[in-house]
Symmetry: C2
Subunit: 275 residues, 2 copies
């Protein structure tokens, strides 16, 4: 069944008003009629079965007929921090990352970032990223839309390391610590979180997922460098901030592949890829 | 160091002749000079350190100075069979699959395949796929270029199931067998392969990797349907042929994400994603 993430103000108890692109999609693409059923989510975890009551020209009204259980949200919070890559690679990372269960995307700038960072274009690009993530969340049956932060500086990213239970720095190395060994050495973070007090979250713009998350979900941050990799100095700084430098095996992954692959593997280890 | 996969005829013992795109890349892009060193691979597993001896206009000569150990080849053979998806998604699957360690790509046609299959354009498309896979193999430091088959019929794909130790049919299901449970139920296929006689491989066009592979590497086939999924009847036929219908967790993955994700997870389980 078609799934729509509406802004929270689209919900007034059981009465729902669908506007904008979603209304357009329902009216023009789906050719919806009164009585049709869709799933409406508020993006914060509430999902309802809704029956359409009125189809206007730019607006659709509906009534919630049933609260649905939350689905599609993993038992760990996984944040992907990706140094701005060239072209539209970040869009791929965000789309695939959302399907795989990531809960937050953090673009950042580092020493070898080659793309020019244009603050003027930022607003537009951020809108586009958020649209891609919303659509991927709808398509993959998530209950919560992952959060997309505006690009951070390297220093600001280092601070985020203190907010997570585990920070994995994907660092291309011939030898040394590798992903599976790290995850098995650390053990199941969910068990630890359940026994420890939840650490308070720092206030960040638009942390919808953070404030609504069950306090016991452990947070894992995956950090991926740009095409040219991170520098040795950056690796040291990240390690000092608490990140673990980790290899992803003997094959060299492209920057846009590393985040997806690490996410799939961590989700697999946590039983989130089935089983 | 720059890595080139040359056709086997480019090697004559220790004398190497580089032609075509690779020569162009060396001469025009790298502005190579005599004495420079590169890594030359024959795509079948041989890799050598080579010193350039002569730079022509369209040809570069080199001499092998050292045989290099084979790197980047996983301990399992992983074949990705993907029903032809729309647009350039298959190129993404092949590029990322090569980075992650897949050894063979098998496009196929199934009931809900929506792209038109044009036999006339096939040759050109196959060339393009093989070029993408070769470049991804060079970039990710593989020793062997994964094989790309021309698109198979569903019936021909079913026959391939008999050639592998495990066939995983990615099948979107609410419940039932899931990937991690399946892999753990099956156990380490490498141990089984080591004790069993190697099964002879069927003759297929251009099975360079198959004929040169160590006979003990177990083969795992991942089958992914098109955008609309495989039909119930196809799932039954695949199961009858020996495939295991397997879910990839509670989130619905796009067709081009499923193969990459399953590959990453299987490689992780086999210690091939580090650790």
């Amino acid at each position: 069944m078609q799934r729509y993430f509406l802004p929270p103000e689209g919900f007034e108890q059981d009465r729902i008003v669908i506007t904008g692109d979603d209304a357009h999609h329902l009216i023009r693409v789906m050719r919806a009629e009164p009585g049709d059923e869709v799933i409406c989510c508020d993006g914060l975890g509430r999902a309802v079965l809704a029956r359409l009551t009125e189809i206007g020209k730019t607006e659709v009204s509906a009534i919630a007929t049933q609260e649905l259980p939350q689905t599609g949200e993993p038992s760990v919070e996984l944040w992907i921090a990706q140094s701005l890559p060239k072209g539209d690679k970040l869009e791929t990372v965000m789309q695939k990352g959302t399907e795989l269960g990531a809960t937050r995307f953090i673009p950042f700038l580092s020493e070898r970032t080659v793309v020019q960072y244009d603050a003027k274009k930022e607003e537009k690009r951020l809108d586009r990223w958020r649209k891609i993530v919303k659509e991927a969340a709808e398509q993959s049956h998530r209950s919560v839309v992952p959060e997309v932060l505006a690009p951070l500086s390297w220093k600001a990213l280092l601070k985020l390391i203190g907010e997570v239970e585990l920070a994995v720095l994907c660092y291309e190395k011939e030898s040394g610590l590798q992903l599976r060994s790290l995850l098995r050495e650390i053990g199941d973070l969910r068990e630890k979180s359940a026994t420890e007090a939840a650490t308070p979250s720092a206030q960040t713009e638009g942390t919808a997922t953070s404030t609504s998350r069950p306090t016991k979900r452990p947070r894992i941050l995956v950090i991926v460098g740009p095409e040219g990799g991170i520098t040795e100095r950056e690796a040291e700084e990240a390690e000092q901030a608490g990140a673990r430098s980790t290899g992803l095996g003997p094959r060299i992954l492209r920057t846009e592949t590393a985040g997806m692959a690490a996410t799939a593997c961590i989700m697999y280890e946590y039983g989130e890829m089935g089983g």
